[in-house]
């Protein structure tokens, strides 16, 4: 075994590249490269309530959004001029190191009678400013050599990876979270009984929904998900989702005979026989005491929006959701039969790290939504006063900027999380490095959570076994190991799905199913 490499050589080689805060920089670059455009494409267009008639007939107005363009960091001086700014200057002058965002937009008038569209030319308009991570792709220091950095007043050894907000350096701390869209089985206690529970945190664009399938009393499966109080019968749920016959359900759950027996038990106890009946039943639960019509509408809405949203939020994905639920049911029974053990929530394969880019994405999405609402309001108001509609005047740049700046400056992120951005610790160089590589678990520090605080063997090579604070945060605040590599998730790729389909896999519908 003396073939061992001198690991010091490896790690020093590792650190000669800008590795210390690379995870933040990479993540931010990804956000800048694709994340912003993705959020804007999600929005697509801004609809307004403006309806009017002119000489060409009745028309509706909406705003079409195009390509986004992020410039390099600049500063708006008091005289209105824009000047390039470097981090040092931002720090010294107590200003924000941010770059203007330009977005192509145009107003479209649609005449539904004729189907005609009057579209103006796309105009690039500044919609606000985005704080730029130091040494990221958009940073004015990007690509400068040692001399270049020194010339611009920068420490060539500074790892970057933080923002400068009003002159203070702010790190967006990496958050460790339980992996979304993954199935976890565990035992739980309900009124003294030990029951098997399958949980999934389904996540779609920042919206998280916890879906639970559990084996309640008498071994009957029950499902619970947000917006429905209490629990719904499992068979009712899958029937509502389109798995109607007994056979379909059994086959969807498992090919294991033992488990099929349990499913039969469930089917015998089923409250409903058909999809329609199921929908009635669910309607009664979600909108009790309302008109039948409304109940139906509400049931459909709830199933599409709140049940397993990561699979999709339209009718097409229902079957896929049914199969997913069946999978969860199978896991539940496997646990009950001892075919599998409880899932280890602290296993690092069940964790995901939210880095600066992901968090900025959350922030930008919310802020941009606010901007679109403001644009809509401004346009409607302009129309009411019979002014000519103009996107550039409808945009108040501060709406977006303030919404982004404030959470970064205070650490109060969207969704009520606090302490997300922190003042970069400059006590010494080591403190800075450690701070940039910090990971925080959102678990409450008030409760013991012994297991979550333990050093888990799967953290080997990923998280430093030694560096954690003493005291209430012990084991919840961690630091990356020296040689950690962070891979980033890949969204649904159509090519991959096509490939799978060509291999004989059937499509069930939904964005995520194959």
């Amino acid at each position: 075994m003396n073939l061992m490499l001198d690991l010091r050589a490896v790690s020093s080689a590792y650190f000669t590249r800008e590795k210390v805060a690379e995870h933040h920089v990479k993540s931010f670059n990804k956000f800048v490269d694709g994340g912003i455009q993705k959020i804007i494409d999600e929005q697509g267009l801004i609809e307004t309530d403006i309806e009017d008639t002119n000489e060409r007939g009745a028309y509706k107005v909406y705003v079409k959004l195009g390509k986004v363009n992020l410039l390099k960091p600049t500063i708006k001086e008091a005289d209105g001029s824009r000047e390039k700014i470097h981090p040092t200057e931002a720090r010294l002058r107590n200003v924000t190191y941010a770059a203007p965002i330009y977005l192509e937009m145009t107003i479209v008038e649609e005449y539904p009678e004729t189907g005609e569209k009057e579209e103006y030319e796309m105009k690039e308009i500044e919609i606000g400013e985005l704080p730029i991570m130091v040494l990221s792709k958009c940073c004015n220091l990007y690509g400068l050599g040692k001399e270049g950095l020194i010339e611009r007043g920068e420490d060539p050894l500074d790892p970057g990876g933080y923002f400068i907000i009003n002159g203070t350096e702010r790190v967006v701390i990496a958050l460790e979270d339980l992996a979304p869209n993954k199935v976890f089985v565990e035992f739980d206690k309900r009124y003294g009984d030990k029951i098997e529970v399958t949980k999934t945190f389904s996540q779609r664009r920042g919206y998280r929904a916890l879906v639970i399938v559990e084996r309640g009393h008498h071994g009957i499966l029950e499902v619970s998900f947000p917006s429905v109080s209490g629990r719904l019968n499992f068979i009712t749920m899958v029937r509502a989702l389109g798995l109607e016959t007994d056979q379909e359900i059994i086959e969807a759950v498992s090919s294991d005979l033992e488990i099929q027996k349990f499913i039969l038990e469930n089917i015998e106890e089923a409250e409903v026989e058909t999809t329609e009946e199921s929908m009635d039943k669910i309607g009664k639960r979600v909108a009790a005491g309302q008109a039948k019509d409304y109940q139906h509408k509400r049931a459909n809405y709830v199933i599409d929006r709140y049940l397993l949203p990561h699979i999709g939020n339209d009718e097409d994905s229902r079957l896929a959701k049914a199969y997913f639920l069946c999978g969860m049911a199978e896991a539940c029974y496997e646990l009950a039969l001892g075919q599998r053990g409880e899932d280890d929530k602290d296993h690092y394969s069940n964790k995901r790290i939210k880095l600066a880019g992901d968090l900025m994405e959350d922030l930008f999405r919310v802020s941009f939504n606010r901007l679109t609402r403001d644009i809509k309001y401004q346009l409607e108001r302009a129309h009411m006063r019979n002014r000519e509609l103009n996107v550039s005047t409808a945009i108040r740049a501060d709406v977006l900027s303030d919404r982004i700046m404030h959470p970064l400056a205070t650490g109060n992120w969207v969704g009520g999380r606090t302490g997300v951005s922190q003042l970069l610790d400059r006590t010494d160089y080591m403190a800075t490095l450690s701070h940039l590589r910090r990971i925080i678990s959102p678990l409450s520090r008030a409760q013991p959570h012994f297991e979550a605080r333990d050093l888990h063997p799967t953290q080997w090579g990923r998280i430093c076994p030694c560096e954690t604070p003493e005291g209430p945060n012990c084991g919840l605040v961690k630091n990356f190991a020296q040689l950690v590599e962070i891979s980033s998730g890949i969204g649904d790729v159509d090519e991959f799905k096509v490939l799978l389909c060509n291999l004989g896999i059937e499509r069930l519908g939904g964005d995520r199913s194959a």
């Binding site: 296993h347 012994f450 063997p457 080997w460 076994p465 954690t468 012990c474």
Partner: protein
């Protein structure tokens, strides 16, 4: 001084509207506070009759200036009665228990029932028992009656909806209606609610008049911008006044019922939040910035509230805080105070015939150390003494002046370290002014404070009066607290180097010539040496035991086993090869060594005996001398510990490796047996558990074995061994881990099992049950751990870290709960433990009547000692 009076009893009642109006100096009607010139508006919330806070103004009620004026209550006449949130539940109960009848309003009980309840209440009161249960029962019985026994009126069910609404069937009861009903309750029925008619009428729970707290209770502050910022209470009162006014206007203008009701609701909301801004079901009233307002109840409640924050505990003057550091040359009842602190902390001294010259000198020195900071002349003027005016002021000194003189040597101060968990956390020390910036204490007093010197800070309080000093000296003096009331042994005593020093000194074979012997005893007041133990070449030599004996108080006889004792099957007594059999005869240490069992805090037997049988002063002197002697001893000998002290010879290493290898083989066998189903499960355990237990046992044995090997090879003069054996610091286990084998790492008492599927780390095969794969660290700290071992060690270490973190936060809370539960218990003169009402908790304190601080480690008497004292050691012989 006026004569002292005792409070006999306190009676609580409700504030009657009449009473509120009577004590009010102004009826507030305007919602505004100040006019444009910044002058308080008449009949506004800042009316000058309510008291003054602005300098230069005089109170229009009492004529005093700010500071002297206590403030005066005002009142607001509410346009309609509202419910007082504090009484909502009582209102509900009373509503349920009285008749709704137009002309009735009596409690729905027959005369006979009523009489019975009243009689029982009377009986309970006479016996000093709380009447609450009877009142509750009364409410329950009367609520059930659905037809009034007096007028026969049919009752409708009344529901209370949080926070302040009452419904009778579907009809909402307005506070005014409730008030009307309550007014009809005849006086003779009111005692049934547990109320006294003279001080409380139920209708007073519906407020018609709102008392306005004086301005002094809600001062406004002026920001540097010149803007006024009002207190939260004032804001709330403004809200109340506005809505009250609007409500009145609307009602007079004949606005629709709906609007009136809405306004009433709003008024109710404001009055509710004025009292309590954290009522469940009521959205908290907020400041413009979104900060919830701090209203009356918030001022009182919680840790920072008036009770816990301002009355039970508050900030004090004449106190100091700094880092502590050790100084073994100090007495245990001294504390080294930095000069800078001594110059700041003062003691008031009244100038008399006997001290006038001394005080004059103090004043003359002014702010330089043994000086004074202030002089209070007979006319009450206080003069700050500065370098410039010192001479001048010193001349003016006369009898009766009060000089605030600096702290000087010998002053009595209280010394405290948080958390103050027991009474020895605050003790009285004598000041010793010293250079530098830290408090210095004798390390022997660390145990009661639970202090160490890794940056701990402590507080010091200067007793300001003669009474305080006397009391501190009599109760809190360090030497009076050597014995802990927790276990009846000394809590002050040798620790760490003190024990090592004593051990080194009293070991066999230590010889000192006259010079070095006297050098060791230099800090004690012993100047004469006994007959020398030996004469070598005509030069007298003394052994360490003799030198130690010099500090023992006279007449001490003691026999016991030292800490280093191996507990051999057959004790060889005075011939013990390790010198572990201690014999002290007539204060001469004849055999044995002084180690933790002799002079250590908690366990020291010599210490224990000295403290219990001699005056406190002697005990103090003994501990002082001991620390002086021990420190000198360890310094003259020299004592250090380095990495090479963990060195063990090659042979030892081989033996250790063999032991580990042997354990590994045994585990293999166990695992094989397990896999072949040949393992016998232990009773009450599953097969898996049995295997785990046996493996753990085997590994534990292996580590102990290696430890023994290491110990054998290290020798008894190794400083680590000396420390471990004498009980000064560390244990043999620590040594084993350093030199031989760290041993099994565990998480919650088990080997490490979590990790990847079927294995802990990818370095091992799946389903490997061996020692290495589950956290056995075969290396020692000295040789270094391999990567997997290191990681497992980190896992084990993390558990300890988490444990300490969780424990500390819990223990504070637990202490608080214990105090709250036990604070009123008292040992009465008859030996019983009783609570405040005189209820018995224990027939005899501790069920044996023993005061642990006067006991012998919890036992009432040490029989052996008495036998020994009476019969003499030759026959009584027993060891303590």
């Amino acid at each position: 001084m006026t004569s002292l009076k005792r409070i006999g009893r306190i009676k609580f009642g409700l504030l009657a509207p009449k009473e509120i109006r009577r004590m009010s100096v102004v009826k507030v009607i305007t919602a505004d506070t100040y006019d444009d010139d910044g002058f308080p508006i008449d009949m506004g919330l800042m009316d000058q009759r309510l008291g003054v806070i602005d300098p230069g103004l005089r109170c229009k009620t009492c004529g005093n200036r700010p500071g002297a004026c206590p403030g005066h209550m005002g009142h607001i006449e509410l346009a309609a009665p509202v419910v007082h949130v504090g009484y909502t539940k009582l209102i509900k109960k009373i509503l349920l228990s009285i008749c709704k009848g137009e002309n009735c309003g009596r409690v729905k009980l027959t005369e006979k029932e009523k009489k019975e309840f009243l009689n029982r209440m009377e009986e309970f009161r006479e016996n000093d028992r709380p009447i609450t249960p009877i009142v509750e029962e009364m409410f329950k019985t009367s609520a059930k009656v659905m037809e009034c026994p007096h007028c026969g009126e049919e009752q409708i069910e009344i529901k209370f909806e949080k926070p302040t609404s009452y419904y009778e069937g579907d009809h909402k009861l307005m506070p005014a209606e409730i008030r009307k009903r309550f007014e009809k309750i005849p006086d003779e029925d009111i005692p049934l609610f547990g109320m006294d008619v003279n001080v409380a009428r139920p209708e007073w729970m519906m407020l018609r008049v709102l008392p306005v707290p004086p301005v002094t209770a809600r001062p406004s502050i002026t920001l540097e911008s010149g803007q006024r910022s009002e207190d939260d209470l004032t804001h709330k009162l403004v809200d109340i006044l506005r809505i009250n006014q609007r409500f009145q206007e609307n009602r007079e203008a004949g606005a629709p019922q709906l609007i009136i009701e809405d306004l009433l609701e709003l008024l109710q909301y404001h009055v509710t939040t004025f009292f309590d801004n954290a009522v469940s079901g009521v959205p908290s009233a907020r400041h413009r910035s979104g900060r919830p307002l701090k209203t009356l109840s918030q001022r009182l409640k919680g840790k920072e509230g008036r009770f816990r924050g301002s009355l039970s505990g508050k900030r004090v003057n004449f106190s100091a805080r700094t880092v502590i550091s050790p100084e073994p040359n100090l007495s245990i009842n001294e504390v080294g105070v930095p000069k800078a602190i001594a110059e700041e902390l003062t003691l008031p001294v009244v100038v008399t015939e006997r001290n006038i010259e001394e005080m004059r000198e103090c004043v003359r020195r002014g702010p330089k150390h043994p000086g004074a900071n202030y002089l209070r002349r007979i006319d009450g003027r206080r003069i700050k003494i500065t370098e410039q005016n010192a001479e001048e002021v010193a001349e003016t000194i006369e009898y009766g002046c009060r000089v605030d003189r600096h702290l000087k040597d010998g002053d009595i101060v209280l010394f405290n370290r948080q958390p103050s968990l027991h009474r020895m956390s605050i003790m009285a020390h004598r000041v010793k002014v010293m250079p530098h910036r830290t408090f210095r204490i004798n390390p022997a007093v660390c145990p009661p404070y639970n202090a160490d010197f890794d940056g701990d800070e402590m507080n010091l309080h200067v007793c300001q009066t003669e009474e305080a000093r006397a009391e501190a000296l009599l109760l809190m003096d360090v030497q009076r607290n050597i014995l802990s009331p927790r276990f009846g042994g000394p809590i002050i005593g040798g620790i760490h180097d003190l024990i090592t020093g004593m051990y080194i000194l009293t070991r066999r074979g230590k010889m000192f010539d006259e010079n070095s012997a006297l050098e060791l005893l230099r800090k004690t007041d012993i100047r004469k040496l006994p007959e020398p133990a030996e004469l070598i070449d005509g030069v007298p030599y003394w052994n360490g035991k003799q030198i130690f004996s010099q500090i023992l108080p006279p007449g001490l006889n003691l026999t016991f086993n030292a800490k280093i004792c191996y507990n051999c099957d057959k004790c060889r007594g005075v011939d013990c090869e390790r010198d572990a059999y201690v014999v002290i005869r007539d204060s001469q240490l004849l055999h044995g060594v002084m180690d933790e069992a002799a002079v250590g805090a908690f366990k020291g037997k010599v210490l224990d005996r000295v403290v219990k049988e001699y005056p406190n002063e002697t005990a103090r002197k003994f501990i002082d001398d001991m620390s002086h002697l021990a420190i000198r001893s360890i310094m003259s000998e020299g004592f250090s510990f380095g990495i090479d002290d963990e060195d063990i010879p090659k042979d030892a290493k081989i033996q250790i490796d063999e032991a580990v290898e042997l354990a590994n083989q045994k585990i293999h066998k166990l695992v094989d047996a397990y896999e072949n189903d040949e393992l016998e499960p232990l009773p009450g355990r599953s097969l898996d558990e049995t295997l785990e237990m046996k493996i753990m046992q085997e590994l534990g044995r292996a580590r102990d074995e290696t430890g023994r090997t290491a110990e054998r090879f290290m020798g008894k003069d190794n400083s680590a061994v000396v420390m471990a054996v004498s009980g000064a610091r560390g244990s043999m286990l620590n040594l084993t881990q350093m030199a031989a084998c760290v041993g099994q790492q565990s998480v919650r008492g088990e080997r490490i099992h979590r990790g990847y599927i079927g294995r802990t780390l990818p370095h091992f095969r799946r389903n490997d049950l061996g020692a290495d794969a589950h956290g056995f660290v075969a290396s020692s700290y000295k040789t270094g751990l391999n990567p997997t071992e290191f990681f497992f060690h980190a896992i084990g270490g993390r558990e300890g870290l988490v444990d300490t973190a969780v424990r500390t936060s819990k223990s504070g809370y637990f202490q608080r709960r214990m105090i709250n539960a036990l604070q009123d218990l008292e040992v009465k003169y008859d030996g019983t433990v009783r609570e405040t009402h005189g209820g018995l908790v224990q027939f005899m304190y501790g069920e044996d009547g023993v005061d642990p601080s006067k006991s012998d480690y919890g036992k009432a008497v040490n029989v052996k000692r008495i036998v020994e004292a009476v019969v003499g050691d030759e026959k009584g012989a027993g060891r303590v």
